[in-house]
Every structure is written in structure tokens, then in C-alpha cells.
């Protein structure tokens, strides 16, 4: 059993597990941090961005002024932003049988894997994961296609060129493999391969392996996966949460007793407490509004935003924000809000019971109904006429490189009254803000990451007791910026097996048993004998049928009667039907002598030897050597006697 690691990003994993002749991809994360190296895509022409100076090396030997622009002391690529894909060279992607998706953030690379690679397999995901994942993909495609850039920068990727560039461009890895965003056609084609699954549903793969998603508590429909056969169990833990937010709680007990547990998607903010961050978010928001400023919240269109809105729903009146407009701007804003209300089965108990009343599970329905929250597909159209300030705007993309957020950065960045509050943990806020510097607007960093922290995961692992743990290498040492915090790493016995991008791990597994089925007819013909108290054995002769990785044993069919004309010679060519069993035990002397006597053999001379006894059957001139672990019958010219003696000896022995 092997694990191929195609992504080095610990929260956006992409691993491939080879297990019992199946090839299973675990998640399809897309590392989008690469877009931070690009200039933002403004929705309306930005004189500031278009006037940036091109970059020429200090000595003037390298001139990339068409592709690279200098902004606030940093160099950015002036091109459509590109993503860092999972490694494609490590193994042939067309051999992948299935892809298991754990949550909608971990499927963004799907079109790159399923399209144009010869992939013919199936993708498994829960319904919310599929629907919201589709929305997030649609959103990114829409953001990109709305502001097409004719130019595609490639010269800077030349190895010799890249070496000469200033950081962080110089250190960017695998820049040649970076790709532009896919289109809707690829998204639709990729998602058409998705087969929906429910929590705890058992899905058989080729009869060899069973996979099953478990609630992971992180987002709507998010799951961990169990990949198992009758005797081996792999648990794949990705993006899990023990906090009580909107999703169904995490199923921990089903992870128990796994041979290998692959652990990814821990919190990216191990030192930030989500509840504290939420409080800070609210107070900063209220403070800015009271001072007459606007609040910009760059965020994804699904996920934490539901919790933010719920928090605000309770907070608005007490903070006197009843008249402040809240805007949610995204091409999928409406869909995201609507979809969140129809997945009752996937929600926490509290929200589930609301549906029984029947009421919408999320209070943002009421915010919309009372006109406190308004949603728009983009800043164009209705929004421009409804727009009132001061206000709060939720919009994407959290990288600040594309989407409507770029417009608000340009619009509000110059005023110190306004505040931008970062809630998504995926991007460093300083890097995100770099191309907008110098900024007058206030920046507040309240990353809310509900995924497991090191303390929680240590407790979880103690509880579920996996034999081996596999994890990204980042988790085996303290974070670089806090090297003294040994509590911010995994310490386990045996130590976890670390992986990095392009690692291939041999998982410590020995398959010893396989489930087979004995058909009833054969089962009834078996004769068990007890060899030890509570332990019985039976010899089995059977025909093995293997079909679709399922094995059955059935009785050996009786050979057809041999036509009498055939010669004996011909019969001897057939292999004997059943070989003789192995024997075990010992032949006790006294009992054996008694048995011989019963069969009319009375003249027995017994001679003691070092190893046992030699019995001389004088009338028959036959020797029987009885030893602890062997019996030797020496008998000439008397086949009937020999077979009788054989059968008498066999009476005392166990047959295996």
C-alpha cells in the first residue's frame, strides 16, 4: 500500500492511495496562494494600477517591464492570476479509479484532474459539497472571465530569469506548472462525474474496498473518509471541527481502530481562538460604522459567512446597527444563501429542529426578509442604485486579487474611516494587501479557522488509537515563526510519518487475511473436530471462484463416471482428487496395542528405544516404529494388513 502526495499544502491536500488494486485520490485541493504574486484584476479601469512602472533588473540586463510591475516595493506579475496545481507527473492520472472529496474547499482542482488527463473514474462527494463546491467554482470562473486579460505572462517563468527576480517571486515553486483558471464547460464536465453519497453510506469499489464518508463538523456536508476492506482500515481525516457551528457534529467514534490515519487540514491559525475572533470582528465592525466608516469583509461565499451573519443577526440590535445596510456581493450570493437553507439533514441538531417547525434553519432568511441584508450578483446593476454608506460589504475573493473586493479596495482604501476585516485564514493579510499599499484604511485581522488545533487533535488521536499516523511535514515541527512553541506540533508514539509534495510513502501494512464465502452446500459437508478446548478444525477441499474481487468456495464437483472402456493407465493420469491431510498428535502405546488386539493382532513384541517403541508383529513379520512425532510402518507383501494398520494409526491422529 502506497501513498502519493501531490500537494504540499497541508489544508488543501491532494493525495493518492493505492490500496488492494484500487487507486483512490483523496481530495483535490487547489493551492490558490500563488495568486498573491499577481496584480489585482480591477473591475473598472484603475489609473493607479495601469500606471505602475515595469520591472527592470538593477543592472539593466533583464527587462521584463511588460510582464512584471513594481508596486509599493514589491514586484507583481501583470497577467491573469494563476493557480498552483497538484503534481501531475508523480503518477498517471488516468489510472485513478475514484476521487473522494472531503469538503467544498478541497475540490477546487477537480477540473484540472478530471479533464484532459484521460481520467475516467468516479468522484464521490456529499450533496452540499457538490452544490456549494459548484458555486465556489462558478464564482471564481465568473470573477476571472468578467475581466479578461489578453496578455499571458510567461517569460518570467524562465528558470534563468526567475533566479534573478526579487523575492517572493524568486522562491515560488513549480511556476511552470501554474495554470490559469478553468472555464464553466470544464467545471460542468468535471462535476458531472460526481456521484452523491450520504454520511455513513457504504460504497463498494470493485468489490475490493469499501469507502464511507463521515461527518467532519467543519462545513456543510464536509466529511472524513473511511477506506477499508474486511481486515484493513485507513481513516482519512481532512478539515474537521469540534466546535459547535452550523454543520452536523464530527463523527469521531467511526475513526476508531484504523491501521493508518492520514491527517490533514488542521487549523491554520493554531493560536487564534475562533470565538475571540468573532467577538473582535463584531466590535471592530460596530466601531467603524459608528464612526461613519464602511466595513469591507473579504470572504468566500459559503462557510464562515453563515456564522458571521448569524452572529450579526444577534448583535445588530444590541449594537444599534438596525439601519446599517449589509451587502453580500457575489455572482453566487443568492444561491449560496438559498442553498444553505435546504440542507437540514447536514446541519447541527439545533438548526435541524428549526426545520420541523417549519422555519428556515439560518436566521439570514430573516435578515433578507427585513431588508437588513441585501445580496447582489455584482457591483454593476441594481447595487449601484441601492448603495448607501456607511455600510458593511461581504464580498470575494479573500486573496484581494480578483472579484468585486478589488473595487472596494480601490474605493475605500484611501480613507482612514474605513476598515477591512480579514476573516478567512487562507491568505496572509499583509501579502494580500501588498499591491494596495500605501493604505489609509484600517486593517483588522480576525482569522476564523474552526478546524482542529493541536490540542484537540492530540486528544482525538488518543481516543481513536490509530496504529500509524501520516501527516504533512508542517505538522511535525513548530511553525517557523514560533519555533519555541513545541505545543504547536504533533508529538506521537510511534512518530507520525511526514510527507511533502512529491513524497511517495510505503504505508506499514501487511495484509494477512481476505474475506471469502463458503457456500452453504460446502459448509454443511464440513466435519469439524475439536483439537483444543474451544478450538475446532476442519479440512476443506473446495473450488475457489473469484469474481469482481469477491471470493467464494464451493464443493468440488463429483467427477463424471469414467466410461468402462477406458484403460487404467488413463485414470492414473488424472491428479488425485484430494491430497492427504497433514497429521498431528501422537499414537499412545497402550491404547494402540489394545486396538491391535481387537483386530486380532496379538503377538506383538514391544521394544523400547531412545525415541519411542518398536512393535514387532511377529505373526505378520511387520514392524511398527512408534515415536513422539512419527510412525513408521514397515510391511512387505501384505497390502490389506498395511492399510488396516494405517487406518488404525490414523484413528489416533488429528488431520489438518
Amino acid at each position: 500500500m502506497k501513498l502519493y502526495c501531490l500537494s504540499g499544502h497541508p489544508t488543501l491536500p491532494c493525495n493518492v492511495l493505492k490500496f488492494k488494486s484500487t487507486t483512490i485520490m483523496l481530495d483535490c485541493g487547489l493551492d490558490t496562494t500563488s495568486v498573491l504574486n499577481f496584480l489585482p484584476l480591477p473591475l473598472v479601469h484603475s489609473p493607479r494600477l495601469s500606471k505602475l512602472p515595469g520591472w527592470i533588473s538593477k543592472d539593466g540586463t533583464i527587462n521584463l517591464e511588460k510582464e512584471l510591475k513594481e508596486c509599493a516595493g514589491r514586484v507583481f506579475v501583470d497577467s491573469q492570476p494563476e493557480f498552483c496545481l497538484p503534481e501531475k507527473e508523480l503518477l498517471d492520472l488516468s489510472t485513478i479509479d475514484v476521487i473522494l472529496i472531503s469538503n467544498y474547499h478541497c475540490m477546487m482542482a477537480l477540473p484540472y484532474i478530471t479533464e484532459h488527463t484521460g481520467f475516467t473514474g468516479t468522484v464521490y462527494a456529499t450533496e452540499p459539497t457538490l452544490q456549494i463546491g459548484r458555486l465556489l467554482m462558478e464564482e471564481v470562473v465568473n470573477f476571472m472571465e468578467r475581466v479578461p486579460k489578453a496578455q499571458s505572462a510567461t517569460s518570467w517563468k524562465n528558470k534563468d530569469m526567475q533566479r534573478m527576480l526579487p523575492g517572493p517571486l524568486k522562491d515560488a515553486v513549480d511556476v511552470w506548472t501554474w495554470k490559469r483558471c478553468y472555464g464553466m464547460q470544464e467545471v460542468n464536465s468535471a462535476l458531472s462525474r460526481v456521484q452523491l453519497v450520504g454520511y455513513s453510506q457504504k460504497v463498494e469499489l470493485f468489490g475490493a474496498v469499501q469507502v464511507s464518508p463521515l461527518s467532519s463538523g467543519y462545513s456543510l456536508g464536509s466529511s472524513n473518509w473511511i477506506i477499508q476492506s474486511h481486515h484493513e482500515k485507513v481513516a482519512y481525516v481532512s478539515g474537521s471541527s469540534l466546535l459547535t457551528t452550523h454543520p452536523q457534529p464530527m463523527d469521531q467514534s467511526s475513526l476508531k481502530n484504523s491501521d493508518v490515519l492520514i491527517l490533514t487540514g488542521l487549523t491554520q491559525m493554531p493560536t487564534a481562538n475562533p470565538d475571540g475572533m468573532l467577538g473582535e470582528f463584531c466590535s471592530n465592525l460596530a466601531m467603524t460604522i459608528r464612526a461613519g466608516g464602511n466595513v469591507l469583509v473579504p470572504c468566500y461565499s459559503s462557510g464562515v459567512i453563515y456564522d458571521l451573519l448569524e452572529c450579526l443577526y444577534q448583535f445588530i440590535d444590541s449594537a444599534n446597527l438596525g439601519t446599517t445596510p449589509f451587502y453580500f456581493i457575489s455572482p453566487v450570493a443568492n444561491s449560496s444563501l438559498e442553498f444553505s437553507q435546504i440542507f437540514a439533514e447536514w446541519l447541527c441538531h439545533n438548526k435541524q429542529s428549526k426545520v420541523y417547525l417549519p422555519e428556515p434553519p439560518f436566521p439570514h432568511a430573516e435578515l433578507i426578509q427585513t431588508n437588513k441584508l441585501k445580496h447582489y450578483p455584482s457591483i454593476h446593476g441594481d447595487f449601484s442604485s441601492d448603495f448607501r454608506q456607511p455600510c458593511v460589504v461581504f464580498t470575494g475573493h479573500p486573496s484581494l486579487r480578483f472579484g468585486d473586493v478589488v473595487h472596494f479596495m480601490e474605493l475605500w482604501g484611501k480613507s482612514g474611516l474605513n476598515t477591512i476585516i480579514f476573516t478567512e485564514p487562507d491568505f496572509s493579510y499583509l501579502d494580500a494587501l501588498a499591491p494596495y499599499q500605501p493604505l489609509a484604511m484600517k486593517c483588522v485581522y480576525c482569522p476564523i479557522d474552526t478546524r482542529l488545533n493541536f490540542h484537540q487533535v492530540a486528544k482525538l488521536l488518543k481516543e481513536v488509537q490509530p496504529l500509524h499516523v501520516v501527516c504533512p511535514e508542517q505538522y511535525t515541527q513548530p511553525p517557523m515563526t514560533q519555533s519555541h512553541r513545541s505545543d504547536l506540533m504533533l508529538e506521537l508514539q510511534p512518530p507520525p510519518m511526514p510527507y511533502r509534495r512529491c513524497s511517495v510513502l510505503n504505508l506499514p501494512f501487511r495484509r494477512r487475511y481476505e474475506r471469502v464465502y463458503i457456500l452453504p452446500e460446502l459448509a454443511q459437508s464440513l466435519v469439524p473436530t475439536e483439537v483444543k478446548p474451544g478450538v475446532s478444525i476442519a479440512t476443506v477441499s473446495a473450488v475457489l471462484h473469484s469474481k469482481d474481487n469477491k471470493h467464494t468456495l464451493q464443493s468440488v464437483p463429483k467427477p463424471p463416471p469414467v466410461p468402462p472402456t477406458k484403460k487404467r493407465k488413463r485414470v492414473m493420469e488424472e491428479p488425485p482428487v484430494a491430497p492427504k491431510p497433514l497429521l498431528s498428535g501422537a499414537v499412545p502405546l497402550e491404547a494402540f496395542l489394545a486396538t491391535l488386539q481387537k483386530h486380532g493382532i496379538t503377538e506383538v513384541k514391544v521394544e523400547e528405544t531412545a525415541e519411542g517403541h518398536i512393535l514387532h508383529l511377529q505373526a505378520e513379520d511387520t514392524l511398527i516404529q512408534l515415536e513422539e512425532d512419527g510412525t513408521h510402518i514397515v510391511c512387505d507383501n501384505n497390502e490389506p494388513l498395511r492399510t488396516t494398520l494405517r487406518d488404525l494409526v490414523l484413528r489416533f491422529l488429528q488431520k489438518l
Binding site: S335, E338, V540, G630, H632
Partner: protein
């Protein structure tokens, strides 16, 4: 031999009061717990004394599963759990869990408040009963205990309707509840995978009907409503608040829109708004088309359909009224019916099945004079139309489901005996499987023949698979040999050698030595070679070796030659073999006793 027992307490050769007991692998499961609409006495509820004469049911049942929210499938639930006594788990889907208590409360109100019955379950009992409910998601495998697992499949019939697959070890049963194999305007079609259950317990409401296409029926329905409205008549459509009502509302709503009709459409009971809300929140349970477009346009927000008030029934002019309940046995639909029955311009459209004893059933059978309470009679002059809109599978649908699931046996419930008999014949003929149709209180027993799962050593399995080649040869089946070790509940199949090792046993060698005397006028080594050549020509397909140390080996049988001191021609052949080569050894000794043929070369 293991067997599965199925006993209907209700719905055995009958429609209504569905309640079926299944015993499988030592587990007892109750499927549905419904009431009978046709009775007002004891026969209303299933006879739970069949399970136990006295005391609670908890000890006798491992779980209760409710297929959908119709009262003939869940109406007796609070009675069973709170009045008879059952504290175990009750499984149902989320929509059923949401809607079922509302219908139960409605039913309780009609029975207790309107009819003044006592000794009936209370509102609190409904609440307590619902606390025992464990929600079930589609396709989720729920482990009731270590051995019993259940899995729900989409059944179509009404919002949240499910079929269940019940499995203990390798034995399994599927119960369909009520289902529909064709998608309609708001729900999808039932679906199940090829799970090959030992028994498929199917409803058979429309066992003998093969219904024309849905579109024709819809057109027919709209035409009748339209004609009646045109001539100024009033149309009453008795429905249950949830289910068919929403489908017909969608149908009329779009028709009114298209034809620009002005006659009012009303929906009785305050439940409407609420009911439609359930549909909006459980949109994932509706059909694909509604699910796909719900963000843009929610099909359950109606423009033309308004809430009904009792006083409207006397308004002049045409109108369409949806009123509950659907079988005209009580409540508002019955009141309106009484009001309108005397006018031949009016029309009542029965869109679903009516159980025996209800007024719906009577008028559908052409009865024109009805005896009402207090010896009054009612003349029925209005038009009575029946439209099969209730979403049950027809004969074609049932056959389709059998093809999908491939059951080993079939069992019919929830239908009329005569119709079942007909379908039973058809099933047995087409699929060559046994089909049962037990009456209430009667037990159908099906013997199962499960395979025995064992753990086979991978080494042994791989060896066998490598030897066996990719395809089995039917003429020469290869047989494999091993030892089955039975220890506590574990069954392991390993090679004999490994079995010795695992059990810590020593091998006992049984050997035979046999001297064969024969006359052969050659030197010892020449004789040995003659033996070699002889056996070589005799035994094809065996490994025969002439070793330099003066032995011949046939497989592992050792043959040596010596001659007696007195007569150099009198040779003694020494054969030695182990018990494992017994057949061959015994055969060789008998062959050699006959002597060597002349004609053999000496070297």
C-alpha cells in the same frame, strides 16, 4: 436452517393500517405502524397483542421503521409507543419526522375534539413518541446494533417517503412502503440498487392496473375541472394536506396562468402555508427539475391559490376547493361535500385511493344515497370523478422494481387479495421466484441459505489464484485445500502447514516402507534404471528422477534396489513413502510387485 419470518398485523391482503413484523437473524423489526381509515373501533389499530399479551413491546422489538407520513403508515405510532409501550428506536426520514406529528395531531383533534372519543392518545403522547424518533438520511447505513443495519432509499410516493433495506449478516429484506416508479410534478421516481434481498416486501395497491401516461391523466383532470368551472359549477378535490395536494396545486397553478382563468382556487385548512413551507425546506427531496430551479423560482410559492374560509363554500359562482381529508371520511372535505352534493353542476374529483367504509369509497362505487349520522340520508347528485393521482407503483412499476432489486422471494402487502393473487401469478411466472401474500396475523416463512464468511489467509488465496489462472476451467476444476480453524466466533482458513503452526501442534510423520522381491537378472544399478524407465513410461505427468546416489524418486517416494547375498538375480526393491503420498505409494508397490516387463533397456 436460518429463516426469515414476515407477519403482517395490518396491510396483509388489505389496504390501511400498515404494520408488518419481520424476524430476521434473531432480530425483530416492525415496519410501519398505521391506522385504518375505514374503522372507528378496535380494528382501527394493529393488534399488538400478537407481539405480546401483556407488558411492553420494548423487549420484543429491536426497532420500528416508518416509511412515510401517511396515517395509514404512522397513525398508530403514539398508541403503540405510549399506550402499549415501546421505548426502542423509531426510524424515519427527516421530512417524515417533521410532518408526521402534525398529521397525528390533526387526526387526534378530529377524533377526540370533534367526535368526542376518549381513551385516545394525547398531544403530549405524540410529543413523547416523537422523542424516540431517530432521523434517517437517504443511503446512510444506520447501525441499529452490532448486527442489524438499515439503509433508506428514495421512494417517491410523498415528500420524505423511503424504502428500507434491512440487513443482518448476509440475510436481508427490503420493505418498499408506498412508492412510485414514475416521477411526477413534484417528486422523483423510486430507486434502489441491485441489493438482492432475500425478500422484497412490496405494496401492491395498483397490482392489476397499468396506468396510461401521466400526461393524459393530467390533461383529463384539467379538462374536467375546466368544463365544470365554465358551466359555473364548484369543484371539490378532497386531498391530504401534504403530498398529492402540492402536485395538483402546481398543475392548476400553471394551468390558470396559461389560460388566464379567474375563478378562485382555495386550499382548506391552515396547514397549506405551513405544508408548502416544508416543501421549500425539504426541496432536496423533490424532483430534479424543481431542485434545479428553486433558487430562481420556488415552485411551492403559489399565486392563484388562496386560503379557504368555511363561509366561502356558500359563495355563488364557480370555484375550486382543495379540502382535507382525502377520503371524505371526516373534517372539512366532508362538510363541503354535504353542502355541494345536491347540485348536479358541481363535481367532486377523488384523486386518490379510498379505503373501504369511507364515503369516498362508497361514492366511487356508484352509491347515490348515503346514510349519514342520525339516520339522515344524503342524495348525491353532483358528478363523481375518480382520477388515479395517488402515487403508487402500478403493475409495471412493481415489476420494474423487482428487476432493479433482484429479490430471491417476493411478498405482497397493502393491496386487495384478488388483485394480489393476479400479480403473484405474474411475478412467479416472469421471475420464477416464490411470491407470498400473507393475510393479517398469518406468517410467511422463507428459508434462507446464507454463505458462511471466513477469513482466508492471503498467502493461500494468492497461491490458489496464481495456480488457477485467470479463468476457471469447467472441465477440470482446480480444487484448493486448507484447514478451517474455528475459534470462538472467528473462522480462519489457512494452509495445513500454517494451521499446525498457528495451533502450536507438531506434525506427526506417518511413513510406510515396503519391500518388493523380484527376479531381474541384471546388476543393481541396471535394475534401478529399468525401474526408472518402466515407471517413466507408465506415469505421465509425474516428476520421476533417477538420482546419482542410487535412488529413484517418484514425486517424494523413494525407491532403492538391493540384491540378496545368495542370489544376485533376486532383487529387493525398497519403497518408502509418507502418508501424504499414500495413493501413489500404494499404487507403485502394486505395480512393481507384478515385476518388470522384459523389453526394457538396461541402460
Amino acid at each position: 436452517m436460518p429463516e426469515i419470518k414476515v407477519t403482517p398485523l395490518g396491510a396483509g391482503q388489505d389496504v390501511g393500517r400498515s404494520c408488518i413484523l419481520v424476524s430476521i437473524g434473531g432480530k425483530n423489526i416492525m415496519l410501519d405502524c398505521g391506522m385504518h381509515m375505514g374503522y372507528n373501533d378496535d380494528r382501527r389499530f394493529p393488534d399488538f397483542s400478537y407481539v405480546t399479551q401483556n407488558g411492553r413491546l420494548t423487549d420484543f422489538l429491536d426497532c420500528v421503521i416508518i416509511s412515510h407520513f401517511h396515517l395509514d403508515h404512522c397513525g398508530a405510532l403514539p398508541y403503540m409507543s405510549e399506550m402499549v409501550g415501546y421505548d426502542g428506536p423509531i426510524y424515519m426520514t427527516h421530512p417524515t419526522k417533521a410532518i408526521c406529528p402534525i398529521l397525528l395531531e390533526d387526526f387526534r383533534k378530529i377524533t377526540v375534539d370533534k367526535k368526542g372519543e376518549t381513551n385516545f392518545f394525547t398531544s403530549q403522547m405524540i410529543k413523547d413518541c416523537m422523542k424516540k424518533v431517530v432521523p434517517l438520511n437517504l443511503h446512510q447505513t444506520v447501525q441499529v446494533d452490532d448486527e442489524l443495519e438499515i439503509k433508506a432509499y428514495y421512494a417517491g410516493h410523498v415528500l420524505g417517503a423511503a424504502m428500507v433495506h434491512i440487513k443482518v449478516g448476509s440475510e436481508s429484506v427490503v420493505y418498499t412502503g408506498d412508492y412510485n416508479m414514475t416521477p411526477d410534478r413534484h417528486l422523483g421516481a423510486a430507486w434502489i440498487d441491485k441489493c438482492r434481498p432475500d425478500i422484497l416486501i412490496s405494496e401492491s395497491t395498483y397490482a392489476t392496473t397499468i396506468r396510461d401516461s401521466k400526461r393524459c391523466r393530467e390533461r383529463d383532470f384539467l379538462k374536467k375541472v375546466h368544463e365544470s368551472i365554465e358551466r359555473g359549477g364548484k369543484v371539490l378535490i378532497p386531498v391530504f394536506a401534504l403530498g398529492r395536494a402540492q402536485e395538483l396545486c402546481i398543475l392548476l397553478e400553471t394551468f390558470w396562468e396559461r389560460m388566464n382563468l379567474k375563478a378562485p382556487i382555495y386550499f382548506s385548512t391552515g396547514l397549506t402555508e405551513k405544508a408548502n413551507h416544508y416543501y421549500k425546506l425539504f426541496i432536496t427531496w423533490t424532483n430534479q427539475k424543481i431542485r434545479k430551479t428553486f433558487v430562481q423560482r420556488n415552485m411551492f410559492e403559489f399565486k392563484h391559490i388562496k386560503a379557504f374560509d368555511r363561509s366561502y363554500a356558500d359563495n355563488p359562482g364557480p370555484m375550486v376547493v382543495f379540502a382535507t381529508p382525502g377520503m371524505l371520511h371526516a373534517g372539512q372535505s366532508l362538510q363541503i361535500f354535504k353542502k355541494w352534493a345536491g347540485n348536479e353542476k358541481n363535481m367532486v374529483i377523488m384523486p386518490g385511493y379510498c379505503v373501504q367504509g369511507t364515503i369516498g369509497h362508497k361514492i366511487l362505487n356508484g352509491q347515490r344515497k348515503l346514510e349519514m349520522e342520525g339516520r339522515a340520508t344524503l342524495d348525491v347528485k353532483l358528478q363523481v370523478e375518480y382520477m388515479s393521482f395517488s402515487a403508487h407503483a402500478d403493475a409495471k412499476g412493481i415489476m420494474q422494481l423487482i428487476r432493479m432489486a433482484e429479490p430471491r422471494n417476493m411478498l405482497l402487502v397493502h393491496g386487495e387479495a384478488a388483485k394480489m393473487e393476479f400479480l403473484k401469478g405474474k411475478i412467479e411466472q416472469e421471475f420464477s421466484i416464490d411470491c407470498y401474500m400473507p393475510a393479517n396475523g398469518e406468517t410467511a416463512t422463507v428459508k434462507t441459505n446464507p454463505s458462511v464468511p471466513v477469513d482466508m489467509s492471503v498467502n493461500l488465496l494468492k497461491r490458489e489464484m496464481a495456480l488457477g489462472g485467470p479463468l476457471p476451467d469447467p472441465k477440470r476444476p482446480r480444487s484448493m485445500h486448507g484447514t478451517l480453524i474455528m475459534k470462538e466466533s472467528s473462522l480462519k482458513l489457512v494452509s495445513s502447514e500454517q494451521a499446525l503452526k498457528e495451533l502450536g501442534l507438531n506434525e506427526h510423520q506417518l511413513r510406510f516402507t515396503c519391500r518388493v522381491a523380484l527376479q531381474d537378472p541384471y546388476s543393481d544399478s541396471e535394475t534401478l534404471h529399468r525401474v526408472y524407465t518402466h515407471l517413466k513410461s507408465l506415469l505421465k505427468g509425474y516428476t520421476i528422477q533417477h538420482l546419482p546416489d542410487g535412488t529413484v524418486m517418484v514425486e517424494s517416494i523413494v525407491i532403492k534396489v538391493s540384491s540378496s547375498a545368495e542370489d544376485a538375480n533376486a532383487k529387493i526393491l525398497l519403497l518408502s513413502w509418507s502418508y501424504q503420498d499414500e495413493d501413489l505409494g500404494s499404487f507403485l508397490s502394486s505395480v512393481l510387485k507384478k515385476g518388470l516387463p522384459s523389453g526394457l533397456p538396461k541402460m
